[in-house]
């Protein structure tokens, strides 16, 4: 029993890490209806910039601030060069643009900062702590706490402030939003900037767990089932989806894997996601599209 709970808790905590990546997608999807494939590249870019600055001897907070500034500049550039010219284009066009963007960001990051694997030490002691009979990873706890604070801050920012109203307004009707004076382009810059910040946090945590290297960009693939299960439009959905994916992944590996005689970790959650697609296509928290027939 203790082992089951331990597996479950470990799974839930790593699920928070998945959720962290998924939130970046949700932010941009809510504001512009775009599935931003480049989110993974942004995670890589942020982590790579951070370690490179650290290697140059910059202090932790200073390196984090400079990285954040670079992510904001990136957000402004993306709005100007990619989003603005493609305004009013179909969603698939924008998606293809972010696909291309993802390769540009990856390539540029590695061109400037090199493609070697960097170790990233956040100074978190990764010895397991004992809670009664259960062992919990201290690193996972810190990651979960960081994600929790981030989600809280984002919820306040987007639900309490007028920026939240503007954001929901442009998601509903961009043309009307412009006609009443909502600055769409400024809002896009803000949202992409915030997504850059989320990418930084995700990049630091994922990077310190598996090293900062090219494969960091594939965290996108981990976020996909999270988004399908939680819904593309809800930050709460991203969290719950992340927890479900994390727990299912961990439990399946232990209890389903041996039955099939191998590892199920890479694909089991996708099966789960497909099952969700059949039952609730909009995800648990997603807004169901109501269309006139």
């Amino acid at each position: 029993m203790a082992f089951l709970i331990e597996t479950l808790i470990g799974g839930l905590l790593s699920g928070v890490m998945y959720a962290l990546v998924a939130i970046g997608f949700v932010l941009i999807y809510k504001a512009s209806g775009v599935f931003n494939f480049a989110q993974g590249a942004m995670v890589l870019c942020a982590a790579l910039t951070f370690v490179t600055l650290r290697d140059q001897g910059l202090a932790f907070w200073f390196a984090a601030l400079v990285t954040l500034a670079i992510m904001v500049v990136l957000a402004i550039a993306v709005e100007r060069v990619v989003l603005r010219p493609l305004m009013n284009q179909s969603q698939i066009t924008l998606f293809m643009a972010t696909l291309g963007l993802s390769f540009v960001i990856e390539g540029m990051s590695q061109l400037v900062m090199g493609a070697s694997v960097h170790e990233l030490d956040l100074g978190i002691v990764d010895t397991p702590v004992e809670v009664g009979p259960i062992l919990v990873s201290q690193f996972d706890l810190v990651a979960a706490a960081a994600a929790g604070i981030l989600v809280l801050a984002l919820s306040v920012f987007f639900n309490v402030t007028r920026i939240g109203i503007s954001l929901r307004a442009i998601a509903d009707d961009p043309q009307a939003a412009l006609s009443i004076g909502i600055r769409l382009q400024r809002l896009w810059r803000i949202v992409w900037g915030v997504a850059g910040f989320v990418a930084l946090v995700a990049g630091l945590l994922w990077g310190s767990r598996q090293g900062v290297q090219f494969s960091l960009t594939f965290v996108v693939l981990k976020a996909l089932p999270v988004l399908i299960i939680g819904g593309f439009t809800s930050i709460a959905g991203a969290i719950v989806g992340g927890l479900i994916v994390g727990a299912a992944d961990a439990l399946a590996e232990i209890y389903v894997g041996p039955l099939l005689g191998g590892s199920v970790s890479t694909w089991f959650v996708y099966v789960l996601a497909v099952a969700f697609l059949l039952i609730r296509p909009a995800g648990l928290f997603g807004e169901r599209a109501i269309e006139r027939v």
């Binding site: 402030t161 007028r162 109203i165 509903d172 043309q175 412009l178 006609s179 009443i180 004076g181």
Partner: protein, 260 residues
């Protein structure tokens, strides 16, 4: 007041617009005087909505120019139009359907916010004061347009007539100097039309907005407006006071039908 306040608030000079070869507007010219209620009437497809869309920049005129507040332009962007004080409502309520009434109205105030992102994000004093002031303005308009009972209701669940009023509230709260109303009374019964007419009159007389409106109900138009412009197939066939237009033989032939 600026020097431009003497002339008309809005002037169209030989404005033409076509869609794939079909002329929607054909060398159209007229002026809207400051402080009046000007109605655009004409059969469906006469180009009325296209005209409003040119004035606030949703469309770009192929030829001619629009002069707003003394400043001529070929094309103004909708955002720029809003910031210069052109407010509008839409024929098919383009409200933010998933937002409550108060949030829709608050969204209409976005352009009046002066605080920076940082002040706003951290709720600094200047921003708190501004938020209070903007909210008070939104509440005022809601009360004025008798929307108080629906204040917190999500817009998509409201009846059509009430949604029309929310659309007006969202446009009015920004205190536009020119208010464009695209069929504000479509689909309303007589009582609702009377009520809406009163709100439009008040927006004009009390809040000082010059109004350009599109309406099909001739009775309502003749009662409400100071100035009527009649369009047919993208051309102007009548322009004058309601009385002049009603008796204009061209208008009767094109639109009003024979007087019996």
């Amino acid at each position: 007041m600026s020097a431009s306040s003497a002339g008309p608030i809005l002037e169209l000079r030989d404005v033409s617009l076509s869609f794939k070869g079909v002329k929607a507007l054909n060398a159209l010219s007229f002026a809207v005087a400051r402080g009046e209620i000007c109605a655009l009437i004409g059969p469906n497809g006469a180009g009325k909505s296209s005209l409003l869309n040119i004035i606030n920049g949703v469309y770009r005129a192929d030829e001619g120019e629009v002069v707003f507040d003394g400043a001529p332009f070929r094309r103004i962007r909708p955002l720029e139009a809003a910031r210069r004080g052109i407010g509008r409502t839409f024929q098919h309520n383009a409200l933010f359907k998933r937002l409550s009434v108060i949030d829709n109205v608050l969204a209409g105030l976005t352009r009046h916010s002066r605080t920076t992102l940082v002040e706003h994000a951290f709720g600094l004093p200047r921003d708190l004061a501004e938020s209070r002031a903007l909210r008070a303005r939104a509440e005022d308009i809601i009360e004025h347009l008798e929307l108080t009972p629906h204040r917190g209701t999500v817009v998509s669940t409201l009846p059509y007539g009430v949604q029309k009023r929310v659309d007006l509230a969202r446009a009015l709260v920004g205190r536009p100097s020119l208010l464009l109303l695209d069929e504000p009374m479509a689909g309303m019964n007589q009582d609702e039309k009377r009520q809406m007419s009163r709100f439009v009159t008040e927006a004009n007389a009390v809040l000082g907005a010059t109004v350009v409106l599109i309406e099909h109900d001739i009775g309502v138009v003749m009662d409400l407006s100071h100035h009527v412009v009649v369009l047919d197939y993208g051309r102007k066939v009548g322009d004058g006071t309601p009385r002049q237009v009603r008796n204009d033989p061209d208008v009767i032939a094109a639109y009003l039908g024979t007087v019996h």
